[in-house]
Subunit: 119 residues, 2 copies
DNA sequence: CAAAAACTTAGCCATATGGGTAACTAAATG
DNA sequence: CATTTAGTTACCCATATGGCTAAGTTTTTG
């Protein structure tokens, strides 16, 4: 362990996805793309920020698989891929289910205990 | 704009929440807490990592409102608050709904166009 | 073909993040 | 009461992140 082979910065898909969502600018971009594909400049317009800075956000969204981009002449068109959000939803749903299950088991247990107490 | 008043590191709730979820260790902690409250050390055990490092993750989860902690003697008990995950779910659901709506409108449009073509 | 438009590349900067050690405090325990 | 146990505090370190400017490149356009 003398050398840390640590190339560690959340490279798994879910982490990339949640990280992509953890920024208002990027969420706004996703929001904007829900209406359909748009060029980078159109997306950037509302975001008082230099283009290169904005581009990094686009790259992150692309890196997380949330969008793809293709070049059409000098314009780079961004297209949303909402399916990519699915793994985040799934993770949250599974958590919710497990929690509900826990509460159910708790209720069942309390029920059973109440029964025993009666007898 | 000479001075950047930029105290900017995603301080909004949603960003804090998504950021909290963007790390495997923290997601594992949430997972572990779905069974019920646990002390820090119990949570840390599976995570080959020094305690102080692990504590930072706990702090982040607490900062995002995902868990609360209380001290019981020398032990710090961590408790999950799954409701806190709701805003993330809501954001994703709203995105999904808007996307579905878009597809519906597209279908309607194609339908209408087909009708016109027939006449 | 000159100029504008739409990125791109390259580099800089401050702060945040994820990890670590060392040393300390406070509560249980033998 | 001496020792463990369970955190906690106070740093340090490398890399990532989010922003910037300056200087390209490649298409359009006038």
């Amino acid at each position: 362990m003398l050398l840390s082979l640590m190339a560690n910065t959340q490279h798994d898909t879910l982490s990339l996805l949640f990280a992509a969502l953890a920024d208002p600018t990027r969420r706004a971009v996703i929001d904007a793309l829900l209406d359909g594909p748009k060029p980078v400049s159109a997306l950037a317009a509302p975001h008082d920020m230099a283009l290169p800075s904005f581009l990094k956000h686009v790259d992150r969204l692309e890196g997380a698989g949330v969008i793809t981009t293709r070049k059409d002449g000098r314009v780079r068109l961004c297209q949303l891929h909402p399916e990519a959000l699915g793994s985040a939803e799934q993770w949250l749903n599974r958590a919710r289910d497990r929690w509900a299950g826990k509460l159910d088991r708790l209720a069942a247990h309390l029920d059973a205990t109440a029964q025993e107490t009666k007898q």
